[in-house]
């Protein structure tokens, strides 16, 4: 679709330039800075809505394409475009940013402008990741994203933040290096960094496997998959509330996005050959991590582990597609699994974001994340308890909330690959409810546990607004997920047709 406004560039640069402006405004006029940041975030969100309004849901081709030469000698271009995979993630990003700005409103007392600016700039980079069509541009945004996040945890984080940031940085950076090598190799073969060209590049199976492994290292760390997940709980525990929200809601999705944008279409035959490996890791994430979550005493760690477990459904949905197709001979079940995985990413963004905000609300008042320090919060914070009940149920995958949709579809589709895969995946019904509701019980229910709980004040109007917005989307997409599927279906269908075509070649 042609349009006169370069919407995608605006989505990237509005928050980045806005962030720089905020940075220069400094801390002297704190309120101005906050309202300025909120306006920038809100405008970005409106831009993404405009994008959605003009998005053509009948085609899989890239839309709103922009292309300008960047580094001509290496054929690197400033090349942007959006399809049914990128759009929902952009909407999720811009929506979450508004909430994060609101969530930091009164809570952040030091270096407010830098805090706000870090998030705005981060948003620009994240949007960049989702729309970059040039692999180098993608890599640029991908790595750039780490810097604001590193600062957010390192400056506004908890007492053990240095260990957490170093771990976070090294883990993800290590993975990315392999991705860079793979991208450079692909460039040497294709003579182009255009991601769509790379999709069409024929490669022998051995090479595909190496490429797949290199990508895997980058994306598995990000999403994260077992056993490269241990940076996430530490990062979450030390991060400020806003950092945790972005980390859980958007940054984890980068891994999923990487798998579906790079691994599957660039190395489809390797993906098919290694799908058993991916399925096993996904199931370990769902079951093993579910058990680990049960043992947590720290609320943030518990939700972090719950995130890993939920992300298991994303990778499961992506990689179970091959055996479904082999079993049933029809694409329908496989596509259902991939779209379920996508839906799981979107929904998890809302739900985990909401849960981290809930923990933040409690932390701001009690300065503790330990479950044992709480008990009977419902007595003093009934409104908050109602919201958190909704999000806890959504996290347990209750039908009617968005958390149900993705899990439901992935379980239904994985049954078509193998009964036992569905069996293990469906264990989340029990485990997810157990760790989430057990935590809820210990924190919220019961008689008032101590004086600190007795003095708690219920959520104020700002917090109510944030939680209401999240509650609205969680229920909306639980009761009516159709729009999300309408956006992504043509793209996913095309993707699936592409990945089941062997593209083996000789070098």
């Amino acid at each position: 679709m042609d349009t006169n406004i370069p919407l995608l560039s605006l989505l990237i640069w509005t928050p980045i330039l806005g962030g720089i402006w905020v940075l220069y405004a400094g801390d002297r006029q704190e309120n101005t800075v906050k309202y300025l940041s909120l306006s920038v975030a809100f405008i970005t969100f409106l831009l993404s809505l405009l994008l959605y309004a003009q998005f053509d849901t009948t085609t899989h081709t890239m839309q709103f394409v922009e292309k300008t030469a960047w580094i001509e000698s290496f054929n690197i271009n400033y090349h942007l475009g959006v399809d049914g995979i990128g759009l929902p993630l952009i909407l999720l990003t811009t929506f979450t940013t508004v909430l994060v700005i609101l969530a930091g409103w009164e809570v952040i007392e030091t270096r407010v402008s830098q805090y706000m600016a870090a998030f705005l700039i981060l948003t620009g980079f994240m949007n960049g990741v989702f729309v970059a069509l040039d692999a180098m541009l993608f890599y640029f945004f991908w790595e750039a994203m780490l810097i604001p996040m590193f600062l957010i945890i390192g400056i506004w984080g908890g007492p053990n933040r240095v260990y957490a940031t170093v771990k976070f940085f090294l883990y993800t950076f290590l993975g990315s290096v392999f991705m860079l090598v793979a991208l450079l190799y692909l460039y040497s073969q294709a003579g182009s960094f255009n991601i769509l060209d790379l999709h069409m590049l024929p490669l022998p199976l051995d090479v595909q496997k190496l490429i797949f492994v290199a990508f895997f290292l980058a994306f598995a760390v990000k999403i994260p998959m077992w056993p490269v997940h241990t940076w996430l709980p530490d990062a979450h525990v030390e991060a400020p509330t806003g950092g945790s929200v972005i980390l859980a809601a958007i940054m984890l999705k980068m891994g999923g996005y990487g798998f579906i944008r790079f691994s599957l279409p660039i190395a489809p035959d390797a993906s098919a050959a290694l799908d058993g490996f991916m399925i096993v890791l996904s199931l370990i994430a769902i079951v093993y991590i579910g058990f680990v979550a049960l043992a947590q005493q720290d609320m943030k760690k518990l939700i972090a582990y719950s995130s890993i477990s939920h992300m298991g459904f994303v990778t499961l949905g992506f990689f179970v597609a091959f055996s479904i197709y082999a079993n049933t001979g029809s694409a329908e079940g496989a596509i259902m699994g991939i779209e379920g995985a996508m839906m799981q990413m979107i929904s998890h963004g809302f739900i985990s974001g909401a849960l981290f905000i809930c923990v933040g609300v409690l932390y701001d008042r009690m300065h503790s994340r330990q479950i044992n320090d709480y008990g009977g919060v419902v007595n003093t914070m009934p409104h908050f308890a109602a919201f958190m009940m909704l999000f806890a149920m959504a996290n347990s995958g209750l039908p009617g909330t968005s958390g149900f949709v993705g899990e439901f579809l992935v379980i239904l589709s994985s049954y078509q690959a193998n009964f036992w895969i569905a069996f293990l995946a469906a264990l989340t019904l029990i485990l997810g409810a157990a760790y989430t509701l057990w935590m809820y019980k210990r924190v919220m229910f019961g008689d008032v546990a101590n004086e600190k709980v007795a003095e708690l004040k219920d959520i104020n109007s700002r917090e109510t607004l944030i939680l209401s917005l999240l509650a609205f989307v969680v229920l909306l997409f639980g009761l009516w997920p159709a729009p999300v599927f309408e956006i992504m279906h043509p793209t996913i269908e095309h993707l699936f047709e592409h990945i089941i075509q062997p593209k083996l070649g000789i070098l």
């Binding site: 056993p227 259902m336 009617g400 379980i411 229910f445 019961g446 009761l479 159709a482 309408e486």
Partner: protein
């Protein structure tokens, strides 16, 4: 007015939802009276419209309704919809659910009068009504699952309604998790349906049974299992959770921690019967698997018999009724297993009325006793609470199947159906339900006598204040007492033998026990008189007599029994040690595994060995490497010379 039934059906579902949302979100604004009015009107509208729909479909022979309301999501050719299927089966459930719910809304005004969570309570029970309606009116598996888990959610919220009570918040978590175990199976069943039938819409699925019937699935390699059996057993596992069948029954007695009105509405009359309804709805599938039917028979029989026995030793008035509910659910399940779906539904309906009645009467007693639930502290209440006494008597007679009451017809139909069934397991089931009759009568009248007759054992203060409950309590009791008596006689003929359910229930010729019985059915009177020639009636009377002897005439005897049969008594008191086993094995085991995975897997191996181990290795290695960079010129010169010599050696070696 029937041109557009869709609007009526929509209103039936939406009215309670609206009431719930208003009472829930604006409870403080509209106040206590506002909250009960808005929800009572909502459910009332729903109930009256359900009756209108009932008249339209059952009496006027109106069209069944099967339509999509909106598309939930679509993926290529697969549409998953939200839609309604209103036929004779669902419309019957709709009337029962909304009517009982309505009565309980009214009753709640009295029961929850002083509770600070008044508005919240009304909001929850209306929400429950909505979820239950979504469940019974669904025309597809996704929405069925939505309603299924929705009622589970409200049940969870209501069991934990008094969230300060430790027992209540333990019970609600337990209820939710045990139900989730059932839902786990249920979801796998649904996944199987989608794979083999290619659709989630009931009508599509039922029309494709022929193609699926002969297919097999290998779950354990080398063993071919019938697809139908696997799907049906998975679906039935869901029913076992919701309808509290052994061994997933453990949550139901604990659910009595919730307020009494919801024990009546959710944990007796409606939600727990969802499993029975679901299996009846799926009769076209279950009919194709005798293995699954036998499985259902055995599970139901075990529940009917062994849960009834537990009712004999309970002293909490609500828990006795809870075990009675378990046992009666066992009866319904057994009927399903015998392919007598209509009989199961019949018992479901009569049970909904008389069990709601019994619970509400117990609630009335509890109000009178100032929230004392221990029957050992009651006695002689008939003098002070005549309406409660009389309605309890009616309810108890219906429960034990006294000839002429509703319970008599539905229960006798089940016993007869088993008598005619030839499926494996039917012999055991027949024994269980016949023995169950005696046990039912014994525990029911034990409760009745201990509460309303005999010595007045309450303390002075309570005794001084004993009085009949207010009108909002006694009127629903009276209204519920009427169907408890008369409904059975009206329903038996049409429901069991004249094809009341039409096409909604499918029974294959080979197991059609009801038609078999129908051959010798000659009207209600004949059926009633015939009963006097069979054992069950006398067993029931013997049960009542035994209860009278043990608890009125010779009240010191039960203690002697308990003493002499110490082991048995202990076994029953400990509920066959199932709770303790679950607590230690499943709950404890899961927590232990979690701890182990966390401490050993994540902390020690991944983080301790690999991640931090790598970091330490790098540090150690760099420590060694660092010593090479000493900064002294002669060290570097020396290294260069060594290098040069090595290179030379290599070249020389290669040249020659």
């Amino acid at each position: 007015m029937f041109e557009n039934m869709e609007n009526i059906y929509l209103a039936i579902v939406i009215a309670p939802l609206l009431g719930s949302v208003i009472a829930g979100l604006f409870g403080r604004v509209i106040g206590r009276a506002g909250a009960h009015w808005v929800t009572i009107i909502g459910v009332g509208v729903s109930s009256i419209l359900s009756m209108v729909a009932f008249k339209y479909i059952v009496f006027d022979g109106g069209e069944e309704f099967n339509q999509t309301i909106y598309t939930w999501l679509s993926i290529g050719n697969l549409d998953i919809n939200v839609g309604f299927l209103v036929d004779r089966l669902s419309v019957t459930m709709m009337v029962v659910v909304t009517f009982v719910s309505w009565m309980i809304h009214i009753y709640t005004i009295g029961y929850m009068h002083d509770d600070p969570g008044y508005q919240r309570f009304f909001s929850y029970i209306s929400l429950f009504t909505f979820a239950m309606l979504m469940l019974v009116m669904s025309n597809n598996f996704m929405q069925l699952f939505f309603g299924w888990e929705g009622v589970g959610l409200v049940s969870y919220l209501l069991i934990g309604f008094w969230y300060k009570k430790d027992t209540a918040i333990f019970a609600n978590l337990k209820a939710f998790l045990v139900n989730r175990v059932g839902d786990f199976g249920f979801l796998l069943g649904i996944a199987g349906v989608l794979l083999y039938f290619g659709s989630l819409d009931y009508v599509d699925v039922f029309s494709r049974t022929a193609a699926v019937e002969g297919q097999t699935i290998q779950i354990l390699s080398g063993h071919d299992w019938s697809v139908m059996t696997v799907i049906c057993i998975c679906l039935f596992i869901g029913a076992m959770g919701k309808s509290a069948q052994v061994p997933l029954h453990v949550w139901l007695p604990d659910s009595m921690e919730g307020p009494t009105p919801i024990s009546a509405l959710i944990h007796a009359a409606t939600m727990v019967t969802a499993g029975i309804f679901m299996v009846s709805r799926m009769s076209p599938l279950f009919e194709l698997s005798e293995t699954a039917l036998s499985f259902i028979l055995v599970i139901g029989a075990i529940t009917a018999l062994f849960m009834g026995l537990l009712g004999l030793v309970q002293n909490d008035i609500k828990r006795v009724i809870a075990y009675s509910t378990l046992s009666q659910l066992g009866y319904m399940t057994v009927a399903l297993g015998a392919s007598a779906y209509a009989a199961a539904m019949f018992h479901l309906v009569t049970h909904a009325f008389f069990k709601a009645l019994l619970f509400l009467a117990a609630g009335s007693v509890i109000i009178g006793m100032h929230h004392e639930q221990d029957m050992r502290k009651m006695g002689g209440l008939y003098k002070y609470m005549p309406i409660t006494w009389f309605t309890s008597l009616v309810g108890s007679l219906a429960l034990i199947g006294f000839p002429g009451t509703s319970g008599f017809y539905s229960k006798d139909a089940i016993i007869e159906a088993l008598h005619h069934s030839h499926l494996p397991g039917s012999g055991f089931a027949y024994f269980a339900v016949v023995a169950g009759v005696f046990i039912t009568a014994l525990y029911s009248f034990r409760l009745f006598f201990m509460t309303f007759h005999g010595k007045e054992r309450m303390d002075k203060h309570t005794w001084d204040h004993l009085h009949e409950s207010p009108k909002v309590v006694t009127v629903p009791l009276t209204i519920l007492a009427i169907p408890s008596v008369i409904l059975g006689a009206f329903m038996i003929g049409p429901v069991l033998f004249q094809g009341y359910f039409g096409d909604a229930i499918v029974v294959s010729g080979a197991h059609d026990v009801l038609t078999e019985i129908g051959k010798s059915y000659h009207g209600v009177w004949g059926f009633t008189l015939h009963a006097f020639k069979a054992a069950p009636v006398y067993l029931a009377l013997a049960g009542v007599l035994t209860a009278w002897l043990l608890y009125i005439k010779f009240p010191h005897v039960p203690a002697i029994f308990a003493d002499k049969l110490g082991f048995l008594h202990k076994l029953l008191l400990e509920k066959y040690y199932l709770d303790k086993f679950n607590q230690a094995f499943f709950a404890g085991g899961t927590r232990k595994i979690g701890q182990m995975f966390w401490n050993i897997g994540d902390v020690r191996i991944i983080d301790g060995f690999f991640v931090n181990g790598t970091a330490l290795t790098v540090r150690w290695f760099s420590g060694i490497i660092r010593t090479l960079q000493s900064g002294y010129l002669y060290d570097y010169a020396f290294a260069m010379i060594i290098g040069l010599l090595l290179l030379l050696a290599v070249f020389v070696h290669h040249l020659f």
